[in-house]
């Protein structure tokens, strides 16, 4: 069943077979990456542009590496968002990209819906690399891949997503993906960091780490941005760490074999204790980064098949 979309803008609405197909393909690339047997000419002659309106070294590098391993020509464009008329920049950029005959466009933007807006204007296949507080689809794919490799499945697992869910596109994409694949999802955080009507998404909402982590197979921590503290949503970093920061004591509430995840970059001592983050027995944070390249290779591969058909 070929992937029916031109772009990857969101996980929400993606049917289970396509998620499974992406994960299977990513698994294949993960293995090939480890063996060094990647087919290096799949995207030969294709142009991939990393268009980043927000700084993100790791996501950009991950896409860059994924594209290079498949043989694409890659250009990184960082666009300053400090210019007064951001929108003009966005649509002007679209026109420029069309003129350059871009095939694959990876977009990171601080505004929800910006990649969708761009997708209406460009000829390229658009991959959302994180938009505002909306979605970060490839992060959810790499997280699911990591979980599946460790736990053998997604279905029936209990995943606790903890911390600043309100502002997290990672949380939203993960919620949609995990629920679609029949996992149980809990979100855990202070009420000021839980989005309105979150339960309507199909998740369980917890405000205490003890109940939230109890019996969890996966503990996924989110980054708490410093601005959230200045915005008054939580009173202080030390209070947040005391009640919502993951340390060994809190992790003990989860299943004994529960894995610990974090999309990075981590605020050590705010949402996660170094002792947990660096514990090779529990933490899969390093593996997430590795799976990121494989998941992005799968996305580029799949979307480029549609390009080829349309060409």
């Amino acid at each position: 069943m070929p992937y029916p979309h031109r772009h990857l803008l969101a996980i929400e609405g993606l049917e289970p077979p396509y998620i499974a197909e992406l994960l299977d393909l990513a698994d294949h690339y993960a293995l090939a990456n480890r063996r060094g047997t990647t087919q290096r000419d799949l995207l030969k002659g294709r142009t991939l542009i990393n268009l980043f309106f927000e700084d993100s070294t790791r996501t950009r590098t991950s896409f860059e590496l994924a594209g290079k391993r498949l043989g694409a020509d890659i250009v990184n464009m960082s666009v300053s968002t400090s210019s007064v008329n951001k929108g003009e920049t966005l649509l002007d950029t679209a026109a420029t990209l069309n003129a350059m005959r871009t095939d694959l466009l990876v977009v990171r933007h601080g505004q929800s819906g910006a990649p969708a807006l761009l997708a209406q204007k460009v000829d390229a296949a658009v991959i959302n690399a994180g938009d505002g507080t909306h979605e970060h689809p490839t992060q959810a794919l790499l997280d699911a891949l990591t979980i599946r490799r460790r736990k053998g499945r997604l279905e029936g697992l209990t995943v606790a997503i903890c911390g600043d869910v309100l502002h997290s596109r990672v949380a939203r994409s993960n919620i949609h993906l995990l629920l679609t694949m029949n996992a149980r999802v809990r979100i855990v955080g202070p009420p000021t960091l839980i989005p309105a009507e979150a339960a309507r998404l199909g998740v369980e909402v917890h405000h205490e780490m003890r109940t939230g982590l109890e019996g969890a197979d996966v503990v996924m921590m989110l980054r708490l941005q410093k601005e959230r503290m200045t915005g008054g949503l939580v009173p202080s970093a030390r209070e947040f760490f005391r009640f919502y920061g993951l340390d060994a004591q809190k992790l003990a509430w989860a299943k004994p074999d529960a894995i610990v995840m974090h999309p990075g970059p981590m605020n050590r001592g705010v949402e996660i204790d170094s002792a947990v983050a660096d514990d090779p027995a529990r933490s899969v944070i390093g593996e997430q980064v590795e799976m990121g390249v494989a998941a992005r290779m799968a996305v580029l591969d799949l979307l480029s098949r549609n390009l080829r058909r349309n060409a």
Binding site: E12, N85, K86, G87, E88, L90, L91, H109, Q111, S112, G113, A114, A116, L117, D131, G132, T133, H134, E135, R169, R172, P195, A196, E197, A198, R200, L201
Partner: protein, 435 residues
């Protein structure tokens, strides 16, 4: 003065024949014809004869009603002429059957000076097709701090006082404004939204905003501002009018305040009884409004409040925006929708839907707002200004952004099929629009 200038010009008589006469002010709904002399309605009835030299317009059985009185429209002028000018808004108003229009003062510069009020009135007169009644800024610069010169602004022609699309956030300022406006028999119009809760918001807080990753505005931001201002109306005995009310909770508060006998009135705008928040799906910025579109339960509550009289008027809440304001990521795009050309058609959808009678719908669009403002118009009574709209209640058309009259094309109703088409509009007996 205005009246003399507009109405007492000599011209031949006008006879509009073969129409369904609809006067919400008197309850008249009968076939007949209507005679205009010197810009005023001279007579109407089943058969009026043919005065010498009269221009005869055959109505073809269409509806003839008082020209619409729009309580709330932003005009773009002065200061944002790239979005709309008074001339282009007047063109859109005429095409929408609107003959009197209250202009919001949060322009650039804001209408907080008598000279600016007179300027806008004169610019309206110059269009020849619509009477523009500007609101005076309630506070200097619409900045929400010091009260503006209500007395001097009123003398210059300000119809009432408001800060437009900006809420008067300070309770003390609102108290003083409500109290002071009484001295001039005027009222204060509030954009009812608690600013500290609405700041940065792009959609109604809830499941949809959560899924779309948009900063939300809680529905309670409207109700709590209305509750506060009702309390202030109680202690000041002043008249507060709430614009574009959109939530069930707020309407319940207004209903109770009216029952208590307080001087509290309100309007709503067509998007709030015709659309719900699903219209913003796929980040459609043309459906980004202020207040934001609500859920279906609120939409139904607005309709119920139109039916039971809690809502006093339907206003266009015309907010012109250009492509650069709207072709942006949703949270960065400007809120506001064009509303002049669709005011009648979308209201008639509620008539066709069985929620309102035709007369009740027209009442909310003309007689009631005219009464609220204390102006002539909104009626076909003999001696009233011949501000008229001729429309076919069933004739269909499709709203299309890019093909609307006037400059602003940012309609939240893009693609909506409407039944009810304006065929002609007359201002003081002079035809200013013909379909």
């Amino acid at each position: 003065m205005t009246r003399e200038r507009v109405y007492n010009r000599r011209m031949g008589d006008l006879l509009i024949t073969d129409v369904r006469l609809l006067d919400p002010a008197t309850g008249l709904d009968a076939p007949g014809e209507l005679l205009v002399r010197d810009g005023l309605i001279l007579d109407h009835g089943a058969s009026l004869g043919r005065p010498d030299g009269a221009t005869v317009v055959a109505g073809g059985g269409a509806c003839l009603a008082p020209g619409l009185v729009d309580l709330r429209a932003a005009l773009g002028e002065p200061g944002a002429e790239h979005r709309e000018t008074i001339a282009s808004a007047a063109q859109a108003a005429a095409a929408g059957g609107i003959t009197t229009l209250c202009a919001l003062p949060d322009t650039d510069p804001p209408l907080d000076d008598p000279a600016l009020i007179q300027f806008v009135i004169r610019r309206g007169e110059a269009t020849g097709c619509v009477t523009i009644l500007p609101y005076g800024a309630a506070t200097a610069g619409c900045a929400g701090k010091e009260m503006s010169e209500f007395g001097l602004l009123r003398e210059a022609g300000a119809i009432a006082f408001t800060d437009g699309a900006r809420a008067i956030g300070s309770a003390r300022t609102m108290r003083l404004a409500l109290s002071y406006a009484r001295a001039f028999g005027s009222f204060v119009v509030q954009h009812p939204e608690e600013p500290s809760l609405a700041a940065g918001g792009a959609a109604t807080e809830g499941e949809r905003a959560t899924r779309m990753g948009l900063p939300g505005i809680p529905r309670a931001a409207e109700a709590m501002m209305i509750a506060r201002d009702i309390a202030l109306a109680r202690i000041t005995k002043g008249h507060v009018h709430f614009a574009h009310v959109s939530t069930a909770e707020a309407l319940d508060l207004i209903r109770a305040a009216k029952a208590e006998g307080l001087k509290v009135t309100c309007d709503t705008a067509p998007p709030y009884f015709d659309l719900n928040e699903t219209a913003i799906g796929e980040y459609r910025t043309y459906a980004k409004l202020s207040p934001p579109l609500r859920d279906e339960a609120d939409r139904l509550a607005v309709i119920a409040a139109l039916k039971d009289g809690t809502i006093d008027a339907i206003a266009s809440d015309h907010q012109p925006r250009d492509a650069d304001d709207k072709r942006l990521p949703f949270a960065q795009a400007e809120a506001g929708g064009a509303g002049l050309a669709t005011l009648l058609g979308v209201t008639l959808a509620r008539v066709h839907g069985g929620d309102l009678t035709l007369l009740a719908g027209l009442d909310l669009l003309s007689a009631k707002p005219a009464k609220l403002l204390g102006i002539e118009g909104g009626t076909l009574r003999k001696g009233a200004p011949a501000d008229l709209v001729l429309f076919h209640p069933e004739r269909g058309w499709r709203v299309e952004a890019g093909r609307l009259p006037g400059k602003a094309q940012n309609t939240p109703f893009d693609g909506r099929a409407l039944e009810g088409k304006v065929l002609g509009t007359w201002k003081a007996g002079r035809q200013v629009f013909a379909a």
